[in-house]
């Protein structure tokens, strides 16, 4: 029996607003339960699970080749690193050494994916702050990358291209030339991003000193990726545990110590420059050879527990596989970056205005299917 009661907002009661699941700036089906006093936020409770598909459970009844296709659906904006994480984990377990060509191409793809993801983040972040024009400038350049993807793998978003042992198929003959064309193009276009948003007085006012996250808090919340590096947390897996071809390229780990929204913004803009630097170094060095190592049609991992982490565009993605020697894993756990990043939001947003909450959640670069899996 449901008791009928009248809810009256008193003077001291919080003014509770459900931001989401359908809301323009939660970037998907995420719900924030905000407790407000006027415009000021004094509590944020993120509710996730609206797009939970049970990917981890599904992995338990799929072979390792099939798992690849599920991982695309987690962080769909940079799908390559997700595939790569599972592939690397399986290869590590089997003790397979993939050809050099595969390593270089995988690195190039990861960086292209990072660029595309950061571009889309830039679009959406501008939108969150009310600068609607950024959306079209970012998408204009992202389209070039998606065209490269489409030509080689036939898909623009969910590639499922990197698989255990190597790649699904060889890259398109135009692949190299396309990237070579893209780098000078984007080198010219990236300063436009700064002109439109970074240097804007209103933008700086909106983002400086907003959503402070100290180094200690970043570490204790497990905030990784550009969000963590904006607080000075040196957490780049590409540097600390190099995988694929990252050990042979020269790039900087971008670190800002301010820990506010503007620092996180600048980390990502600087990472786009670094990604282009990595691409430039690797694009001429794609060795000839096989696009995949010799693999058995049915992969059976030896009994044991395996972990591999990679750096996606949003932070550290860890894959933990428990195998009992079968062709299916017993347990798969993904440590997705967004899940950890999201829950720092209460710490960051308290005391700020609603508009700042939107800016903060934008600066964390949330992808909701990555949170819910």
């Amino acid at each position: 029996m449901v008791e009928k009661r009248e809810i009256i907002l008193g003077e001291n009661e919080p003014y509770v607003i459900n931001m989401g699941p359908q809301h323009p700036s939660t970037h998907g089906v995420l719900r924030f339960e905000l407790s407000l006093k006027g415009e000021t936020v004094f509590k944020v409770v993120p509710h996730c699970g609206y797009i939970h598909r049970g990917i981890e459970k599904m992995c338990e009844s799929n072979t390792y080749q099939q798992i690849i296709h599920l991982t695309d659906r987690m962080d769909y904006l940079s799908a390559h690193p997700n595939n790569e994480a599972v592939s690397l984990c399986v290869e590590k377990a089997l003790g397979i050494e993939v050809p050099e060509r595969v390593k270089v191409i995988r690195t190039i793809l990861s960086e292209l994916g990072r660029l595309a993801s950061h571009q889309l983040w830039w679009c959406a972040f501008g939108m969150d702050l009310g600068a609607l024009t950024t959306f079209f400038y970012g998408l204009r350049d992202r389209e070039k990358i998606l065209d490269i993807f489409e030509e080689s793998f036939g898909s623009r978003l969910l590639h499922s291209y990197i698989c255990p042992g190597g790649l699904m198929n060889d890259v398109h003959p135009n692949f190299k030339q396309r990237i070579k064309d893209f780098i000078p193009y984007f080198r010219k276009k990236l300063p436009e991003y700064d002109q439109l948003l970074s240097g804007n007085v209103i933008f700086k006012e909106r983002s400086r000193g907003i959503g402070m996250l100290s180094l200690e808090d970043a570490i204790s919340y497990g905030v990784t990726g550009p969000s963590g590096r904006g607080s000075g947390f040196s957490c780049d897996i590409r540097k600390s545990q190099p995988y694929s071809a990252y050990d042979r390229v020269d790039f900087k780990e971008i670190l800002f110590t301010e820990g506010d929204t503007y620092a996180r913004y600048r980390v990502r803009i600087a990472e786009m420059w670094e990604s282009m630097k990595i691409l430039e170094q690797l694009v001429d060095q794609i060795p000839d050879g096989d696009y995949t190592a010799k693999m058995k049609p049915i992969i059976k991992l030896p009994e044991g527990e395996y972990y591999q982490s990679v750096e996606t565009a949003r932070g550290e993605l860890g894959v933990y596989i428990v195998s009992k020697g079968d062709k299916f894993p017993v347990r798969v756990k993904f440590r997705t970056p967004n899940f950890s990043n999201l829950f720092a939001i209460n710490h960051m947003a308290v005391g700020h205005k609603i508009a700042d909450l939107v800016a903060i959640s934008g600066s964390l670069d949330l992808v909701i299917p990555d949170i819910d899996r």
């Binding site: 607003i17 501008g126 939108m127 009310g130 600068a131 209103i202 006012e205 508009a355 939107v358």
Partner: protein, 361 residues
């Protein structure tokens, strides 16, 4: 002063034609209806055109084409949109205050409709020429905030309420700056009557004649008017990334269209007021003593001048919206109370001094 195009001849002849055959009461009624119809039509067409213009300007800034399918260059797109909105269900949220909910869009649209009658579009081409024209326009446009507050309050939606409260704080604050920056020109011209202000600019627009303070007042007016019309970087009342659509979240169909049209007409009104007061209204552009050049300029009809200048100002206001991020509510109020208002007061003292010493042209 003699003007090439004088519309008072036309309006007087219509008046005399009616007066010759009808009693004074009927003449009055018929003239009221005529003026009302003309302004309603003008309002609707201009509002729709401005929506279309905004979409094209925004597309131009954003690297895309914008509406270009319905009619030549897509100019009938907004009419198609309006027809669609007319056929939509008028939805009222449960537990909404029905009377106020229905009333709010009308208040908003009437406030902007009442104001456009007082603007002089050409010599003798205005519905009412009050001797306190500036004052009247300020008073009437601030009625719009009542509609917005009612809409937010009666919607029974938390987002709407927040949007309405923001809007209330914002419009009431920026009203001061709008009024004070207009006061600058009132001091220069010594009149609140819009037609007199326009005619005082026959030998040069106030933005040029009034030295730097007048230009300064113009800039402040642009900023404050943009804020008062809930546009551009100041669209906090309907901040879509924060409050979904702010005060009109719960409105559908033609009620929503009313808010939408009123927003655009308020923008037109702000631009028209800026034109009238600072940029010489319907006065042609004269360049010192180049009589040949000035003579050619005189031949361009005054309403072309008026709308030309107005659309330049509208274009500037549109550029604001599509290039700047949105301000936060406390920054918005800080900008007004800590910067614009003191600067404005200082500016007025300087202007009063200039006028006192007779230094202006």
């Amino acid at each position: 002063m003699k003007f090439l195009y004088d519309f008072s001849i036309l309006t007087n002849s219509i008046h005399q034609m009616l007066a010759a055959s009808l009693s004074p009461l009927w003449v009055f009624i018929i003239e009221l209806v005529l003026v009302g119809l003309v302004f309603l039509g003008f309002y609707a067409i201009l509002g729709l055109f401005l929506v279309y213009l905004e979409r094209r300007v925004c597309a131009f800034i954003q690297n895309r084409l914008g509406p270009n399918r319905v009619g030549p260059q897509g100019i009938f797109q907004t009419i198609a949109d309006l027809v669609k909105l007319l056929f939509k269900e008028l939805f009222v949220v449960r537990k909404a205050d029905k009377i106020l909910f229905n009333l709010a869009p009308f208040i908003v649209i009437i406030a902007s409709l009442m104001a456009i009658g007082a603007i002089p579009y050409a010599k003798g081409l205005h519905a009412i020429d009050l001797n306190i024209g500036v004052f009247y326009i300020l008073a009437v446009t601030s009625l719009g905030v009542v509609g917005i507050l009612l809409a937010g309050w009666s919607s029974n939606s938390k987002y709407s309420l927040l949007g309405a409260m923001r809007s209330g704080a914002q419009i009431i604050s920026y009203e001061l700056s709008v009024g004070l920056s207009l006061l600058a020109v009132i001091i220069f011209s010594g009149s609140m009557q819009l037609s007199t202000i326009v005619e005082s600019q026959a030998n040069g627009w106030w933005i040029f004649k009034g030295h730097i303070p007048a230009f300064f007042a113009f800039v402040i007016f642009l900023i404050a008017a943009t804020a008062e019309t809930n546009r551009g970087p100041f669209d906090l009342a309907e901040a879509e990334s924060e409050l979904t659509a702010g005060f009109h979240t719960e409105y559908t169909g033609i009620r929503f269209a009313f808010f939408f049209l009123a927003e655009y007409m308020n923008m037109f009104l702000a631009a028209a007021l800026a034109t009238t007061v600072f940029l010489g209204g319907w006065m042609p552009f004269h360049f010192f003593d180049f009589s040949g050049f000035n003579y050619v300029m005189d031949f361009i009809p005054p309403f072309v001048w008026f709308f030309g200048k107005t659309f330049v100002v509208i274009y500037i206001i549109m550029l604001f919206k599509w290039t700047f991020p949105r301000l936060r509510i406390d920054q918005l109020l800080t900008l007004e109370w800590k910067y614009l208002l003191p600067l404005n007061l200082l500016n007025i003292i300087v202007i009063a001094f200039i006028v006192l010493m007779g230094w202006h042209f």
